[in-house]
């Protein structure tokens, strides 16, 4: 799919072409749904592996109207989103300032880099049991897990963004009277913003991917927990419905951030 925000050289023709590609994408999705429907209808595949689209739809309608295991669908989604949101807010509050400072001050970078580089490639599940040990089995350990997952990409984006600010910009700002904290607040932070939002996109992705793992242990709510719980009862229709819901939410969040990037930094190339 072409980038919807690409600067068109010839507006009319590009619009036309974008529309055409959009139609191709729609047809492609429609075709996949058709194959799915035919495969389940003609029982090419065991319905346990692949329930039919109407089955999934009715499973969706059931959980949407009656909820799942005593909790409404929106509450499940809300529980998951709340965990992600709290984790991401903590990430923004810590990784951004620390990353920017590390990007500007070589000494700080030397102090923190080894730890970040060490834990960054670790799969979050590897240390999850330790987190449960430390923070208990309730929500706190889940949020810490998501936080640690999101911290590394955000931190790295912040370091990178601070390091690539043109030196002339900093010097020019100092000549205009920006010193110390004003320099950070009025020049460095806005300079980093486009890269920070790109980092946020990555962090959201990682956090989202970790969510199901986080909700695997001792949860009674959340969209990820729903998938795992349904799998215990072989309710593949609910699994499919929940996965599709998760996918759509992810697309919406990503589109929202992309939109924000465009609005905040229309001059940057993305």
């Amino acid at each position: 799919m072409p980038h919807p925000n690409a600067q068109p050289a010839e507006p009319v023709r590009t619009d036309l072409r974008n529309g055409l590609y959009l139609i191709v994408s729609a047809v492609s999705v429609g075709l996949a749904l058709l194959i799915w429907w035919m495969a389940s209808r003609n029982e090419w595949v065991n319905p346990l592996f692949l329930p039919s689209p109407p089955d999934v739809w009715s499973a969706f309608m059931t959980i949407a109207t009656e909820g799942y295991k005593g909790t409404s669908l929106l509450a499940h989604i809300g529980a998951s989103m709340q965990r992600i949101a709290v984790a991401l807010i903590l990430v923004l509050l810590t990784a951004v300032p620390l990353g920017i400072l590390c990007g500007r001050i070589r000494l700080l970078r030397a102090i923190f880099d080894p730890f970040i580089e060490f834990y960054r490639p670790l799969p979050p599940l590897a240390y999850y049991s330790l987190l449960v040990l430390w923070f208990g089995i309730e929500d706190t350990s889940k949020i810490v897990l998501l936080y640690l997952g999101g911290f590394a990409p955000m931190f790295i984006a912040a370091v990178y963004s601070a390091r690539r600010i043109p030196p002339d910009r900093i010097q020019g700002a100092r000549s205009l009277g920006a010193s110390r904290w004003r320099l950070y607040l009025y020049v460095i932070l806005p300079s980093c913003l486009p890269d920070l939002l790109t980092g946020l996109r990555t962090a959201v992705g990682v956090t989202y991917a970790t969510l199901v793992a986080a909700e695997m242990i001792a949860a009674v709510s959340g969209i990820g927990w729903m998938v795992l719980d349904a799998s215990k009862y072989l309710r593949s229709d609910i699994i499919y419905a929940a996965i599709i819901i998760m996918g759509i939410i992810a697309i919406l969040i990503d589109a929202g951030i992309r939109n924000l990037i465009q609005r905040v930094s229309p001059w940057a190339e993305h």
């Binding site: 002339d168 020019g172 700002a173 100092r174 000549s175 009277g177």
Partner: protein, 292 residues
């Protein structure tokens, strides 16, 4: 008791010595006059076992309303000299004084216009021009008033609300000039500000800068490697040679006309212009053959 009084005495002595030093330092050539004084500016660094001398005892005295063009081949240290005056680089020897006071770090007193406009991309033209005023803690209303004056001065009234990426190269550079002027610096440093522009835009920018200088009467210090530019703009022309960077010529430009509308084309066609141009070109070229 004794210890305290002793330490006080030493501190007093030290202070007295510092004052003495400060009053004796300006020397006979600088005095306490208004303007910008560079005294024995040197810069060298070690590269392996060799010492590289970038600048060698540069001395300059600039009047508060001077238009100086610093001319020299690339690598003669002219940009380094600008960085030292701006306070970005500390010299290994010598001092920069503004109205008799030491200048060691960037302040709004010394404005800088860069080769590339270097505007803040997230701020509109007005926001950029207001930036220095905001840093100085000037209120919104007053900021607006001052900014709109300087935006008018560079002829960007119609584009005040635009973001830098929506401007042409010449407009960006004019916005940068307005931003620098808005904080009312004592000296405006310009590092080849028109070299990235096309020939037509460059000429109109040169006229612009000339006119703005006449209206503001601040010290403009413009670095260029373009002899024509120096002759058209400079009231004073300084030529530097490299290895190490030294001032080899410091002349008052006889062609300089302090009129409202200097005609660059008539000036260019004159014989004096051609002669002086030839002289300066050979001076610069000479530096190249001498050094290598």
């Amino acid at each position: 008791m004794t210890a305290t009084s002793l330490s006080t005495t030493t501190r007093d002595e030290h202070g007295a010595r510092q004052n003495e030093h400060a009053s004796s330092c300006p020397g006979p050539d600088t005095g306490s006059a208004a303007g910008i004084q560079l005294t024995d500016i040197s810069l060298s660094y070690r590269q392996g076992s060799q010492a590289v001398h970038v600048l060698d005892r540069i001395g300059l005295s600039l009047a508060p309303d001077e238009f100086v063009c610093l001319l020299g081949p690339s690598g003669c240290g002219k940009s380094t000299l600008l960085s030292i005056i701006a306070g970005y680089v500390q010299p290994s020897g010598g001092s920069v004084r503004i109205d008799g006071k030491h200048h060691t770090k960037p302040t709004p007193q010394v404005g800088v216009v860069f080769q590339h406009a270097n505007l803040f991309p997230w701020l509109s033209v007005a926001g950029n021009v207001e930036f220095g005023l905001r840093m100085a803690g000037i209120g919104r209303k007053e900021r607006r008033r001052i900014a709109s004056f300087y935006i008018g001065l560079v002829g960007l009234e119609a584009s005040a609300a635009r973001l830098p990426h929506q401007l042409s190269g010449g407009m960006k550079q004019r916005a940068a000039l307005a931003r620098t002027l808005a904080t009312e610096p004592r000296i405006v440093l310009m590092d080849e500000p028109f070299s990235a522009l096309d020939a037509l835009t460059r000429e109109s920018m040169q006229l612009h800068v000339r006119r703005i200088w006449q209206q503001t009467r601040r010290c403009f210090f413009l670095i260029t490697h373009d002899v024509d530019e120096a002759l058209l703009l400079g009231r004073r022309i300084i030529v530097m040679h490299p290895n190490p960077g030294t001032i080899v010529q410091d002349i008052r430009n006889p062609l300089f006309q302090d009129t409202d509308a200097p005609s660059f084309s008539i000036l260019r066609a004159s014989k004096d212009f051609a002669d002086l141009r030839q002289h300066l070109v050979s001076m610069i070229a000479g530096s190249g053959s001498n050094s290598r």
